[in-house]
């Protein structure tokens, strides 16, 4: 034997399917970002499974441009999220949730900085703002 110390050479390798705490932190963040007022309007968002890009639910499918997003009354958005999660498209998406809009913004713009950054790209790289490449379909 050489000078090897690899414990995994001595034991049967185990693929530990361990629960990850990040998951729980992540879901708390989702709760925080899913909060909305009783009045107002929202859009629905997710990340695409294949490339992780941020997408918004439109009248027909999902778009990288929030400008194309379908707007829901806050009273209706929970049902709309449920419906979106039940469509076959949902299999190609991760983490579908609602995003409240800023009523005072000129165009469609989320209320929180976090969602504005998801919608319009990292503020430190304007050149990385989302461009319309493709739809989920």
């Amino acid at each position: 034997m050489g000078a090897s110390l690899h414990v995994w050479r001595l034991f049967v390798p185990v693929t530990a399917y361990y629960a990850c705490c990040l998951e729980r932190i992540g879901s708390q963040v989702d709760v925080r970002n899913n909060r909305r007022d009783t009045t107002g309007a929202s859009v629905i968002t997710a990340n695409r499974l294949l490339d992780g890009r941020t997408v918004w639910l439109t009248q027909q499918g999902w778009s990288e441009q929030i400008a194309h997003a379908r707007i829901f009354d806050n009273a209706d958005v929970e049902d709309a999220i449920k419906q979106a999660k039940a469509t076959p498209d949902a299999r190609k998406l991760v983490g579908i949730y609602g995003v409240q809009l800023d009523p005072s913004a000129a165009g469609i713009s989320p209320l929180t900085m976090r969602e504005r950054i998801r919608a319009f790209g990292p503020s430190v790289h304007p050149d990385f703002a989302p461009v319309e490449i493709s739809h989920v379909h």
Binding site: G2, A3, S4, L5, H6, V7, W8, R9, F11, V12, P13, V14, T15, A16, Y17, Y18, A19, C20, C21, L22, E23, R24, I25, G26, V29, R32, N47, L49, L50, D51, G52, R53, T54, R91, V94, G95, L111, T112, M113, R114, I117, R118, G121, P122, S123, V124, H125, F128, P130
Partner: protein
């Protein structure tokens, strides 16, 4: 055996066939898992732990891949592979982190198996960069080179890597576990802000002994680690660490993830009781099984390439003459180098923090250039620092000016190491799914505001550390000035802490008052620094003035602008 010393990578351990087979099996396994996820056979809940075990996170805009750089050491071939990945699969950028790793921010899930395959070709991977395991061990960026070093810590860092990789008992710890190791009396690894911090030095018969610190950490509950053991003999290193991690594994809290780190356990039990439990575990272990025999250590050491440090006798004189001839070069040598153990050589720090730039971001072209410079000037060896910079460890003194010219031409020659421009910033809300606020823009504004190198030198040693949330990836508690992003109803606010430090004078920064809105934060810090310049005495640094006067003198500057 292919351990011909001529081909050993300088500063790193040469992988053997076992390591390579393991990596390629791991890539194949992950490819299969990705396929199953894309086909819909695995749900996101099932898949997430698997991708995290391979360093793949889902962030705000895309997947993020965290690539391990074991103990911060890599070769030019590996840096070129990273450049290729940045160019082919990302948006031409990579990002150096305080954990001495590299992150890619625009990765596609479907590309990831190919990326991992590419990494495996240069003996790299993304294992131990996420999940509740023993993470990638971090190490002194001047290891094996620094004049003040007593012992090269990389050999033992590699031993810890081999011990911890896929350790069957430690793949499901209560929480992540971070180990740092230093062989210098000057702590450059923040040993007391780690789950375990090791400080090595030569002991009897020249064999290493270790001081073992435990239970340090940042995050929600910042705690300075306590010394658990001094003079731990080398032969017991693995047994003793295993005893510590076992005690943690058995008693660490799994019910509340905010209380799951070892630091909370050590606090809850008290260090005496914790030590008793470790000693009891240690006493039960079959120490012979764990004995780190000098022959094993020497076998590992033999797979590290050693630089052939030959310099002309007048190398140091040449450097002195070059410095006299060029004040800009002289300034850079003052700020961006560290003394080497060989008088003909010097360690050069490449600042990855240009004025107004994004701390730690490098383009693919810059990565290729760093690889070329490493080949030309430092035996092909590159180190990533915990300050998000890059070190070329063994540069001949008479060739330093040449290197500097090339760095400057590529925007990599900013003379700001350890100064106000050398800001640590986490990715923050521009990328991170957990963030409350953006870190990078604050860093950019501060670094642009204090760009003047003369002003920076006058201000002196000052670490500004910025985190976008309480997880503290930007080490804000350990900054002389710490900045923490908080969220107030969807808008960004920033809380300032003062007086933190990660070195031998370790301290946790104290909150100075209420959080500031984003547009007031940079001005408030500028006033704070102005105040320090007025109040400082003699050759005091910021931290000294703060410690002499306390927070009160600075509070007015932050909250009561003239």
């Amino acid at each position: 055996m292919s351990t011909d010393t001529a081909t050993l990578p300088v500063g790193r351990y040469a992988y053997d066939q076992v390591d390579r087979t393991f990596l390629s099996q791991r890539v194949a396994q992950f490819r299969e898992q990705v396929n199953r996820r894309i086909a819909g056979d695995l749900s996101e809940d099932e898949f997430k732990p698997l991708r995290l075990m391979n360093g793949l996170y889902l962030q705000l805009h895309a997947y993020m891949l965290r690539v391990a750089v074991p103990y911060g050491m890599m070769g030019s071939d590996q840096m070129r592979a990273l450049a290729h990945i940045a160019r082919t699969y990302d948006r031409d950028y990579g990002h150096f982190t305080t954990r001495q790793n590299v992150q890619f921010n625009w990765i596609r899930l479907e590309d990831t198996p190919d990326i991992l395959e590419h990494l495996a070709r240069v003996n790299m991977h993304a294992i131990q960069t996420s999940g509740n395991c023993i993470r990638n061990v971090t190490c002194d960026e001047f290891a094996g080179a620094a004049a003040d070093e007593l012992l090269d810590p990389r050999i033992h860092a590699e031993i810890l890597r081999q011990w911890s990789t896929l350790h069957p008992e430690f793949s499901f710890l209560p929480r992540k576990f971070k180990i740092a190791i230093s062989g210098s009396p000057h702590d450059r690894v923040a040993a007391r802000f780690h789950d375990i911090g090791l400080v090595a030095r030569p002991g009897p018969q020249g064999r290493p002994v270790f001081d073992v610190f435990v239970g340090g950490g940042l995050g929600r509950t910042p705690i300075i680690g306590v010394q658990l053991r001094d003079n731990l003999p080398e032969e017991d290193l693995l047994a003793y660490l295993e005893a510590i991690v076992r005690v943690y594994n058995a008693y660490g809290r799994r019910d509340n993830m905010y209380k799951a780190r070892i630091k909370i356990l050590v606090q809850a039990l008290g260090v005496e009781q914790f030590r008793e439990k470790v000693d009891a575990e240690f006493a039960l272990m079959n120490r012979a099984d764990y004995r780190l025999d000098p022959a094993i250590v020497d076998g590992i050491r033999a797979r590290f390439g050693i630089p052939d440090l030959v310099a002309p006798a007048d190398a140091a004189q040449n450097l002195a003459a070059d410095r006299r001839a060029d004040p800009a070069f002289d300034r850079w040598v003052r700020t961006n180098t560290h003394p080497h153990r060989n008088d003909g050589f010097i360690c050069a720090v490449v600042s990855v923090k240009p004025d107004g730039g994004i701390p730690g971001d490098v383009t693919a072209d810059q990565m290729d250039l760093i690889a070329d410079l490493a080949d030309g000037w430092s035996f092909g060896e590159i180190r990533v620092t915990h300050m998000q910079n890059v070190v070329l460890g063994h540069v001949r003194k008479d060739r330093l000016r040449d290197l500097w010219h090339r760095l400057v031409a590529a925007g990599l020659g900013t003379p700001n190491i350890g100064l106000v421009g050398d800001i640590i910033a986490c990715p923050g809300l521009d990328y991170c799914a957990l963030a409350n606020a953006r870190s990078i823009p604050i860093a950019q504004k501060l670094s642009a505001r204090f760009a003047d190198p003369e002003l920076q030198e006058r201000i002196g040693r000052l670490n500004i550390n910025i985190s976008g949330c309480i997880n503290a990836c930007g080490h804000h508690h350990a900054g002389h000035i710490g900045i923490l992003g908080v969220d107030k109803r969807g808008e960004e606010f920033f809380q300032l802490t003062l007086g933190g430090s990660a070195g031998n004078d370790v301290a946790i920064g104290q909150i100075i008052g209420p959080a500031l809105p984003e547009d007031e934060t940079v001005d408030a810090i500028a006033r704070l620094i102005d105040t320090y310049l007025v109040l400082r005495q003699g050759d005091e640094q910021f931290i000294d003035t703060y410690r002499r006067l306390g927070a009160a003198s600075f509070k007015d500057a932050v909250y009561a602008p003239a």
